[in-house]
């Protein structure tokens, strides 16, 4: 009598759950890149409608320019600073940075190295010009101004 009223609950079949999660995992592994540096500067890169994708991500080195994050402001102030790898550097350190980055690439690809400048949209051009001049001095001529893809400005 009791059996008639209360049917035994079937356990939910969860065998496909792991497949779904694995698929999600692969999606994330493909679409994202591993973070290489800890961000120490705050930056919001400007928008540009003609922004083109970088063809070879592995050949790019990044220079970050922006105001130091809050926890570092006590030490470094709020003026725009340059971050190379994991620490604050000055313009003169770019030469060593470029040399090291170039050294780390395979011989054939060194000419294709791109320096991507990730700068906050509010920084002044003075610091950018200094960086550009320094890059010219160490003949790293391929550069990219990092920018977000945006809809073209209205006519």
């Amino acid at each position: 009598m009791i059996n008639k009223k209360k049917k035994e609950m079937q356990p939910l079949n969860t065998s496909s759950l792991s497949d779904i999660v694995f698929m999600l995992l692969f999606f994330f592994m493909i679409t994202t890149t591993i973070r290489e540096t800890t961000k120490k500067v705050e930056f919001k890169i400007p928008e540009a409608s003609e922004s083109a994708k970088l063809e070879r991500k592995d050949l790019a080195s990044h220079i970050y320019v922006g105001t130091p994050i809050r926890s570092e402001q006590g030490k470094y102030g709020t003026d725009a600073r340059i971050q190379l790898n994991d620490s604050f550097k000055s313009v003169t350190d770019i030469r060593d940075f470029v040399a090291a980055e170039r050294e780390s690439l395979p011989e054939g690809d060194r000419g294709l190295m791109t320096i991507s400048i990730k700068a906050d949209q509010n920084v002044r051009m003075g610091i950018i010009t200094d960086i550009k001049q320094e890059l010219r001095r160490c003949s790293a001529l391929k550069i990219m101004y990092s920018a977000r893809k945006a809809a073209p400005a209205s006519e």
Binding site: V21, I45, N122, Q133, R136, K142, I143, M144
Partner: protein
């Protein structure tokens, strides 16, 4: 004794996969690495005497952004929305105006003779210019070049530039070069 083989308990694979997933979510970033690509001019040799390159005045369009992000193009104050059309007119010179850049017939491999504009856009800025304004202007100039390229591709190949194959894109790039020069910084404003 033949015992039925128990199925391997796979209940925990989902948990393990979740842990790995969370790890990837934390340690990765999704920012797309796109931007405006540029080639800087090489540093002039210090020993070499600077030869003043005589460039015909009509072949240069000076675009200047001052400290307060105001834009001057070809000597007049201009709003950023006008810059693209100005640059396009400068690059194409549709009516062969003598004040706009001259064209030179060049032999392009795989295409033949083609008039190529000698125009150079010279972009100047001061130390006080904001990066945002600078990128906006760069973007407008790139947009002008891209539109001229599209136009050229449409006229000659019947397709827009992006849809062409690699060799045809090369031809279009040669016919419509992207001559944007980032001038030597002028020592204006304090360091």
């Amino acid at each position: 004794m033949a015992r039925p083989i128990n199925a391997v308990n796979t209940g925990s694979t989902a948990d393990i996969a979740f842990i790995v997933l969370v790890f990837f979510l934390i340690s990765s970033n999704m920012d797309s690495s796109g931007g405006l690509q540029r080639r800087l001019p090489p540093m002039p040799d210090e020993n070499q005497k600077v030869i003043d390159q005589k460039v015909n005045k009509r072949n240069v369009l000076v675009v200047r952004i001052n400290e307060s992000d105001r834009l001057y193009a070809g000597g007049e104050i201009m709003d950023i929305s006008m810059l693209k059309d100005k640059a396009k007119e400068f690059l194409t010179n549709p009516n062969n105006d003598p004040t706009l850049p001259e064209k030179e017939d060049k032999q392009i491999e795989g295409f033949g003779m083609c008039p190529v504009s000698k125009g150079v856009i010279s972009l100047q800025n001061t130390r006080g210019t904001s990066y945002d304004a600078y990128i906006k202007v760069q973007n407008e100039l790139v947009r002008a070049v891209n539109e001229v390229r599209d136009q050229f591709a449409m006229e000659n190949f019947g397709k827009s530039y992006i849809l062409l194959d690699e060799t045809k894109q090369e031809i279009v790039r040669k016919a419509v070069p992207q001559n944007i020069s980032e001038a030597e910084p002028k020592d204006t404003g304090k360091k």
